[in-house]
């Protein structure tokens, strides 16, 4: 069964998706229990999970899901109402299935017990007379041409015996062919089970009869078959047509008969095509009785002679336990996107041959045209290739609906949660890594933001709080906003706490925005007491760090008494950045385009410092000399360009010798041994094979902010870089 391993990986992944879908459906049902389409979707999800479970070796999932599916089916049929209790239970079942899916190999006893506990709860929703009727394996069993063990026939199992003689009457439905079944095929199958003699009789219209429909089937087929197989094997041949067609299988004799005897039996059936079964059986037994003496003798002889006929093989269909590890490496990709990659690969081939022609002809114009086309194609290919890694953020959003539902119940708060822009796409890696920070922020919003219903009422707000999570594209970024209408952040309290924690001098003159920033400082928490929900020692500083590790930014805005908004800006992908290439001496650097605000120039006289101020549009902004910061060798020119960047509303300029131009940089992350280089987020290889360092602008800005007079740090930085 190892051959179906790839399917197992797909099953695991698919089940995860189905479970997420199920959860979304269940939560939607909570809002609108009458939405039958949702009920249907939930049932279908459960149905598919169950079906696959048994097929791909997740037997416990299949066992567990059976009753859950039945309950959902009853809801679907209108026999059960959608209640909160039922939804809660089904959500728990969903969690349990996920646990079973992720459990290694065979489910342990703990999980089985958990299954049973949940199933007990589900039992209440099952019909009174709970029919344990196992689904009949209606698919025809595999045929064992040598199988002779027929429970009915042999009292003594150990003793092999002779075959039996059966009479099969098959009267095909006139329109049997319209169901894709062909009587001849069925009869051939019958023939394959033993030695068969067939009599085709009954009506057959003339060729020119007006009511003759050549697509219909006429007459009766009476088969006398000598077979080592049981009657059920014969019945299985006709399993798909039984009901519409008349099928009768009767054993007329235990023991064998000669071929000539079979012919005689068949002849006895002539003219009995319309006779009822009793009459036919009577005729057959008469024909048989003539042979009785011989038959008894033959029976004894055969029983004696028959060598050990092979018994039915024990079923070998054990499926190997799936390896769940493989699932995490697969990614489902929109087929249209794959198609465009293939198309582009085709274009690439054409361009290559055009380029070769141009080179052979030494035709620079043609080569330039190829270059132009190649640029366009490369851009498009990059976008599509990155698109392959893109997933809608909604996959994470749906988990939050559940989270907030459970949390608000725990906290005794009432809250409406709305997620918008779930179809906004983000790099899979970013999605995977943004989840935890978002959970933390949402927990904070619910725990610290949204007030208890009574407090809200007292403040003249609706009892139910509101938390909105939205995602949208903005430039090269995805902006995620978490908005609550809670009590907001008390700036004075934050300031007090910051001072208490020694994060802020008591007399510091800082803006409200800066105070709010303190919330992201390590070791800061405004929660008065540590609750179960938030304040578990993981502070907003971790959130900020995690987001920045994704090259994102996080911002807080709050109006006391009205609510808080947390805004997260994330890059679309981690693999490539749009940047501007700048040169200092012999080194080149990349400034990410998202941070870039403009260029200026300045003339210098005398000694420069690492960090200076410069006037820009009537304001003084700090400028950093990359030459000094990174200790680039070479003389300071008297004229330099300043690259103006903005991070978190602050402008900082970087002095460089030359601005080269826009460049798409494929990020190569730094080796671990260079991780301590704070101001570099990575490197990239240029077209000419040289290397550029990608500036970590937020880090640099922070550095500038804290170290306006930073000779010391600059010196240290230069040392580390030159090591």
């Amino acid at each position: 069964m190892s051959e179906i391993d790839p399917s197992i990986a797909i099953y695991v992944e698919e089940t995860r998706e189905l479970l997420a879908e199920l959860e979304r459906g269940l939560l939607d049902l909570e809002n609108d229990p009458s939405d039958m389409e949702r009920v249907d979707a939930c049932f279908r999800a459960m149905h598919t999970i169950k079906g696959g479970g048994a097929m791909f070796g997740f037997e416990e999932i299949s066992r567990f899901t059976h009753d859950v599916e039945t309950v959902l089916d009853r809801v679907r049929a209108g026999a059960l109402p959608v209640t909160r209790e039922l939804l809660t239970l089904t959500l728990a079942a969903k969690d349990h299935i996920l646990a079973l899916l992720e459990a290694p190999a065979e489910a342990g006893p703990d999980l089985r017990e958990a299954s049973d506990a949940l199933l007990d709860s589900f039992a209440a929703f099952l019909p009174e007379a709970r029919e344990e009727a196992a689904e009949a394996q209606a698919s025809p069993s595999q045929q064992h041409p040598t199988a002779t063990l027929d429970g009915e026939t042999y009292a003594c199992e150990a003793e092999p015996g002779p075959p039996s003689i059966y009479w099969v009457r098959f009267r095909p439905a006139p329109r049997i062919l319209h169901s894709g079944n062909d009587p001849v095929r069925l009869l051939a199958e019958c023939d394959g089970l033993g030695r068969a003699r067939v009599l085709r009789h009954g009506p057959m219209p003339d060729l020119d009869a007006p009511d003759f429909d050549p697509e219909e089937t006429y007459g009766v087929f009476d088969v006398i078959v000598r077979t080592p197989c049981g009657g059920n094997d014969l019945r299985d041949v006709f399993i798909f047509v039984d009901g519409d067609s008349d099928v009768l299988v009767e054993r007329i004799h235990r023991g064998t008969l000669r071929d000539a005897d079979l012919d005689e039996l068949v002849r006895a059936l002539a003219g009995l095509d319309a006779a009822p079964p009793e009459v036919v059986l009577d005729a057959l037994s008469q024909a048989l009785s003539a042979k009785l003496a011989f038959i008894t003798e033959a029976k004894a002889r055969v029983a004696e002679k028959t060598a050990r006929l092979t018994g039915a093989e024990p079923s070998k269909q054990r499926q190997t336990a799936p390896s769940t590890a493989a699932a995490s490496t697969t990614l489902r990709v929109d087929a249209a996107r794959l198609d465009s990659v293939v198309n582009m690969a085709g274009e690439l081939v054409i361009l290559q041959s055009r380029l070769r022609q141009a080179v052979q002809a030494r035709d620079l114009d043609a080569a330039a045209a190829v270059d132009e086309d190649l640029e366009r194609l490369t851009d498009a290919m990059r976008d599509v290739a990155l698109g392959l890694r893109m997933l809608p953020i909604g996959t994470v959003f749906s988990q939050f609906t559940r989270l907030l539902r459970d949390l608000s119940a725990t906290l005794g708060k009432e809250v409406d949660f709305e997620a918008r822009g779930g179809d906004t796409e983000l790099d899979k890696t970013v999605i995977d890594r943004i989840k935890d920070p978002l959970v933390h922020i949402l927990r904070n919003s619910l725990d610290h933001g949204v007030e208890p219903p009574d407090a809200r009422e007292a403040a003249g707000k609706p009892r139910r709080g509101r938390i909105t999570l939205s995602a949208s594209h903005s430039g090269g970024n995805v902006v995620i906003a978490i908005v609550d209408d809670g009590r907001g952040i008390d700036v004075a309290a934050v300031r007090k706490k910051a001072v208490e924690r020694g994060l802020l001098p008591a007399d510091a003159d800082v803006s409200e925005k800066e105070i709010l920033e303190m919330i992201f400082a390590p070791g800061f928490s405004t929660a008065e007491k540590i609750s179960d929900i938030s304040g578990r020692g993981v502070g907003m500083d971790v959130v900020k760090r995690n987001i920045e590790a994704l090259r994102g930014m996080v911002e807080l805005e709050s109006v006391l008494g009205q609510g808080t908004t947390v805004t997260i800006k994330l890059p679309l992908t981690l693999a490539i950045i749009d940047g501007f290439s700048v040169v200092v001496g012999g080194d080149s650097f990349i400034v990410p385009l998202v941070n870039l605000r403009g260029f200026q120039e300045r003339f210098l006289a005398g000694e420069t410092r690492t960090v200076e101020n410069m006037e820009r549009m009537g304001e003084l902004i700090p400028v950093v000399s990359l030459r000094r910061l990174f200790d680039v060798p070479g003389d300071q020119p008297g004229y330099e360009r300043v690259v103006v960047t903005e991070v978190e509303g602050e402008m900082v300029g970087f002095c460089v010798d030359k601005v080269v131009g826009r460049q798409q940089a494929v990020i190569k992350s730094l080796d671990d041994c260079y991780r301590h280089l704070k101001w570099i987020s990575g490197t990239t290889i240029n077209g000419d094979g040289s290397i550029s360092l990608i500036l970590d602008v937020p880090q640099l800005v922070r550095f500038v902010r804290g170290q306006e007079d930073s000779r010391l740090h600059a010196a240290r930085a230069s040392r580390t870089l030159t090591q």
């Binding site: 051959e3 179906i4 279908r44 598919t48 079906g51």
Partner: protein
Amino acid sequence: MAKRIMTVDDSASVRQMVAFTLKKEGYDVIEASDGKDALSKLSGTVDMVITDLNMPNLDGIGLIKGIRAQAAYKFIPIVMLTTESQAGKKAEGKAAGATGWIVKPFTPDQLVAVVKKVLR
């Protein structure tokens, strides 16, 4: 010439399993994700259809009726995949023109046995 079988299921894992098994047996396989998709892909030689019953857009019963309505596919074998033990669903499928059924879960061997049983 290899026989062409269309497998219709909204579950990618089941489709994959069916396709994998049948391809290994030397059949050509076309995959469709639901009844609607299947009808849109139904053209040229299709010797057999294996379809799930519970599917979005167009379910298995609807698909069977849709296939039988086309002259070219009026008599091809159509096997439904079902976990429903209820006679109702099966009877509905049969009335719509299904050739047979396979009860899920099934093994690759069972699948091949049914295909060999009904495919001319």
